[in-house]
Amino acid sequence: MLTKRIIPCLDVKDGRVVKGVNFVNLRDAGDAVENARFYDKEGADELVFLDITASHEKRKTTIRLANKVAESIFLPFTVGGGISTVDDIRNLLNAGCDKVSINTAAVKRPSFIRESSKRFGSQCIVVAMDARCRVKTKDRQKWEIYINGGRTPTGLDAIQWAKKIESLGSGEILLTSMDYDGTKEGYDIELTRRISESVKIPVIASGGAGNLEHLYEALTDGKADAVLAASIFHFRTYSVGETKAYLKKKGVKVRI
């Protein structure tokens, strides 16, 4: 049986790992390749590197990083952040990463999803979406998509956008709740469930993990196929191993 994936996320800036709290405050949490090796040994199912390097020039450090990671671990990993052209994708895949995650560029030019999934295959195109709750009444809830690292609202409805992403050929959705990201109060279960039920492609839940119960909720009530977390792993609140042991005990199928 297919297992649920536990994915540590590493924000990367100039070859170093940092973690954003509510997208603004950053804390240093160490070297990227060392982190990757550590998580590989701990039994992580995949890794995600989010490149938050601002300048295009310095992005080359990320390609070098992907290259080094691919040479040191034999585990699937994704790189995202600032990817806007087919060449960006090609460079990263050639450097050895398995998937790329696109966000702002996908919203600005949806045909980019189609072009890249046609060229490189759906399996390596992840579309990341940052959603914020805009309407919440007793019987209705709506979320809006934001771009540019959560700074710019787009007017796009999250569920409609998820369906569009799927129809354009993306192989997976990385869903971040902006309301919960950095809060450690848990994933947005309602958002995750609604998105996961709206599409047939796998959904990775992200944003808000503070304890292991949160991961459990996202994978069960939230119907996520995978959970992404950063701080709880980086700061060793929990190891990937104990996370999986916890989930297994509660009846979630995980790879141990």
């Binding site: 997976e172 492609i201 796998p202």
Partner: protein, 199 residues
Amino acid sequence: MIVVIDYGMGNLHSVRKALEVVGAGAKVSSSAKDILRADKIVFPGVGSFGEAMKELKKRKLVQPIKDAIAEGKPFLGLCLGLQLLFERSEEAPGVKGLGVLKGEVKRFKLKGLKVPHMGWNSIKNKRSDIFDKVPDNSYMYFVHSYYVKPKDKKVVLSTTSYGIDFASGVCKDNVYAFQFHPEKSQALGLKILKNFVEL
């Protein structure tokens, strides 16, 4: 010499690197000469069946691959490299595959299950040298929307369950092929590659 066939379908860096880690230098090549000279061949690939056959034809690699297999060279197909060994695929109606193995490639049509089948799933192994020290029910990393349906069930080397039980590994004479990615499946995946190298 091990040759990793490069036909423009996906990154071969990790396959080459993984082979190196298990003790075999490999040459990534798209030359028919190299393929015919190789001691062993690895045939990886991700992307679509139709595109891949087009690229193989463009590089004039279809016949050399078939010849190398017919000569009995140990051959390892991975992911799309498994699917291309079959006669045809629902992904590209009308496109002929390599036809080394009889049968077809079908799309997952499963109610309530996500496609692509993506992540870690277990394999039920038959006994084989390629699975030496790879226990039954080992987890391997998969990412695919299509699966192979061999006509001859005897070629099935491992099965995996995702809504249905499908062939995640096949073997016929000198040809081994897997739907999963051993080069991305940590220690047990690397063990399979090592076993292939040592065949």
